[in-house]
Each structure stands twice: as C-alpha cells, then as structure tokens.
C-alpha cells in the first residue's frame, strides 16, 4: 500500500468518525430527558352526524363574566330550531348555516342557559345543553 493512499484513508475515516460523534452529541443535547407521549390527533370527520350535533363553544361552563351581554356561539344543524333560555330571557333562532352566534343578556348572579336544538326533520333527536354562567360585578 502506498503511503499517500494510507494517509487518504486515515483522514477520510477520521473525518467521518469526527462528524459522526459530533452529530450523536448534538442529537443527545437536543433531545429532552423525558420522552412525553405525543397527543393523539383528534380527527373530526365532517359528516352528517357531526353536522346535526349541537355544540356550544361559548360561553364555557361555570365561567364568570363581568359583562351583562354575552355571545352564545356554537354549531347546530342548519335550519333547526334553536331555543336559548335563561331565567331572565330567551332567544329563538333558526340558524341559516351550521354555526350560530347569538347575543344574550344575563341577570346578575347565576344564569342557567338551557339550549335546545329541534332538528329540521322530526325523526331526528332533540338535543339539549345546560350551561351555568355567572354574571358578577367583580374582578
């Protein structure tokens, strides 16, 4: 074996090893000490069943607000009959699309919001949600 060939192999292997070690140490440095389980992604299939489900996004249950008027937001079946009732008042709407946003007045203290969705077809199931909201004049 020629001296030049030996040197070339020597430097080649050396450089390779150096880079490999460097990479291994860098990866170890980046990786967290504890491996946390990645959350399972929630797949929401947008089919007939999800569309006809009453979902209330706002207000959150047992939330405290200092505002006299809130917005009740969520999703419901298009053209269903939506009734939002509280001890103070009620709103009756027919959503023209799947989402709804209804301004709603609150009474001082506890407000029990009873939300009912009557589907457009009488064979479908009536759905209801009850959410408590506290309108309190405090910070």
């Amino acid at each position: 074996m020629k001296k030049e060939v030996g040197l070339a192999i020597f430097f080649g292997v050396g450089l390779g090893l150096f880079v490999a070690f460097l990479m291994v140490f860098q990866i170890r440095k980046i990786q967290p000490t504890e491996t946390t389980a990645s959350p399972t992604p929630m797949l929401r299939v947008k089919d007939e069943s999800t569309v006809s489900t009453l979902q209330v996004d706002e207000p959150k249950p047992d939330s405290i607000t200092s505002s006299k008027t809130i917005t009740v937001k969520g999703t419901a079946e298009k053209n269903s009959l939506l009734i939002i009732q509280s001890p103070l008042t009620e709103s009756i709407v027919k959503p023209t699309k799947e989402s709804f946003s209804v301004p709603f007045d609150l009474a001082l203290g506890e407000n029990i919001l009873h939300i009912t969705m009557y589907p457009s077809t009488s064979s479908a199931r009536i759905q209801q949600k009850t959410i408590k909201v506290y309108y309190l004049d405090e910070q």
Binding site: M1, G6, I9, F10, V13, G14, L17, F18, F21, L22, F25, D62, I64, L81, I83, Q85, S86, P87, E90, I92, V93, K94, A107, L108, G109, E110, I112, L113, H114, T116, Y118, S120, T121, S122, I126, Q128, T130, K132, Y134, L136, D137, E138
Partner: protein, 232 residues
C-alpha cells in the same frame, strides 16, 4: 495496516475527548452584572405572570344550597349533589344579597341553612376560600311535553326531558309566551291557549320549601305549539 488500526483507535479517543471539551465551562467567561440583573428581573416577571395565571385558573364560582354552617365554614350541596366547603375569612370575605338587577352588601353571618348561594374565590379540591358570597334565588330551567292543562287551578302537568313528572303552577305574574309556528315571533298568551301535546320551555322558582315534590311556581314559560312540529 497495523499502523492504520492504531491510528484509528487513537483518533477515536481524541475525537471523543475533543467533543467533551467543547462544552463551555461556566467559569470560562465572566457574566456582566447588568446581564445577571436583567435575567433575574425577567425571572421575577415570569414568576409573577405565572402566579397571576394560577390564581386566575383557581378562581372559581360555585353555587349550591347551604346544607350546614359550622363556625366559619359553610357546607354547600351543588346541583349535582356534590358537597363543597366554603371558608369565610372575617377580613376578606364580602357577602351580598342579589335582588333583581341590584346587589346589597350584607354580613356573612346573615347566611342561613337553606339559602342558595354563589361563592367565588380560589378553589383547592372541594374547598373554596370565599372572596365573595352572593345570596341568590334558585331556578330550574328546562323543557318538556304538556300532558295535562288544568284550567281550574291553572296548573300544567309536564313530562320533562329527563322523564320527570312536574306540576307547574301558572301564577298571575308568570310570563307566558307562545311561539308562532311560522314566523317564530313570540306573543303573550292566556292559559286557555295552552294545549296538551305542546312543548313547554320553563323557568321555575325553587324555594326549597315546596310542599309537594315536583311542584313549582313558573317564572316564565315559552310554548312551542305542536303545529310547528307537524309542519316539519
């Protein structure tokens, strides 16, 4: 080849020690004082923000009927039947009585067994350290089908959505509304317009002193006539 093997081993050892040597020593470069001060301040700010967030997170409102009062501790029973403890602080806790749209400050010791109260404050497990207590009225909000409309004693028999039989007293001051099956407009109606088979959305007042189980006075009712569902 022998030289090559020895060189390879030597290079491996050198490479390993070389990588370790790359980690900076904390004492290698002195950190300026102003940088340390800034970092401490940042840390303080972060801590303050975190504490505020945690306080906000633990700041809850709970409501229920006063089951018992023992010294400075109130035991509540919430709507699900769960028992909660409310701690009263002589200095910090304020109490109010809600009447309509106004609230009036009262002494915490005016709270009695059977009162319906809302309390706010930091909550740890089942104990709330009360910042504020509100004495309020308790309502039942729900809906059901009318199975009987008694025009003699102005009562409605209703089968609720939870299959609970209710007797609703329609008082003179009960707000009675009927939904138009075509326009969905609401109109005030008399008792005679209410029919068996209609759907009723009700708000009932619960005093805790009801003589007959399942019988309550109505605050407001909204009637959806069965014609609405027939037309669907």
């Amino acid at each position: 080849m022998k030289y090559f093997t020895y060189s390879l081993i030597a290079l491996t050892i050198i490479a390993q020690s070389g990588v370790h040597a790359q980690s900076p020593s904390p004492s290698a470069s002195p950190v300026p004082t102003n940088v340390v001060t800034r970092e401490v301040q940042n840390l303080k700010d972060k801590l303050a923000t975190k504490v505020a967030e945690l306080r906000k997170l633990n700041h809850k409102a709970v409501s229920g009927v006063v089951a018992s009062i023992s010294g400075k501790t109130i035991t509540l029973t919430d709507s699900s039947g769960k028992s909660l403890q409310v701690k009263i602080d002589d200095v910090l806790t304020k109490a109010f009585s809600i009447s309509g749209t106004t609230k009036k400050e009262v002494k915490p010791d005016t709270i009695e067994k059977g009162d319906y109260i809302i309390t706010t404050g930091p909550m740890v497990e089942n104990t709330v350290t009360a910042n504020t207590i509100y004495i309020d009225e308790q309502y039942i909000v729900g809906s059901g089908k009318i199975t009987e409309a008694n025009a003699t004693d102005f009562t409605l028999s209703v089968m609720s959505e939870d299959n609970e039989k209710l007797t609703i007293d329609i008082e003179n001051n009960t707000k009675r509304l009927l939904v138009d099956s075509k326009t969905l407009a609401k109109e005030t109606i008399g008792f005679t317009k209410i029919k068996v088979g209609d759907t009723v959305h009700y708000v009932l007042k619960k005093t805790g002193t009801e003589k007959i189980k399942g019988r309550y006075s109505a605050v407001r009712i909204v009637i959806i006539p069965q014609e609405y569902f027939v037309a669907q």
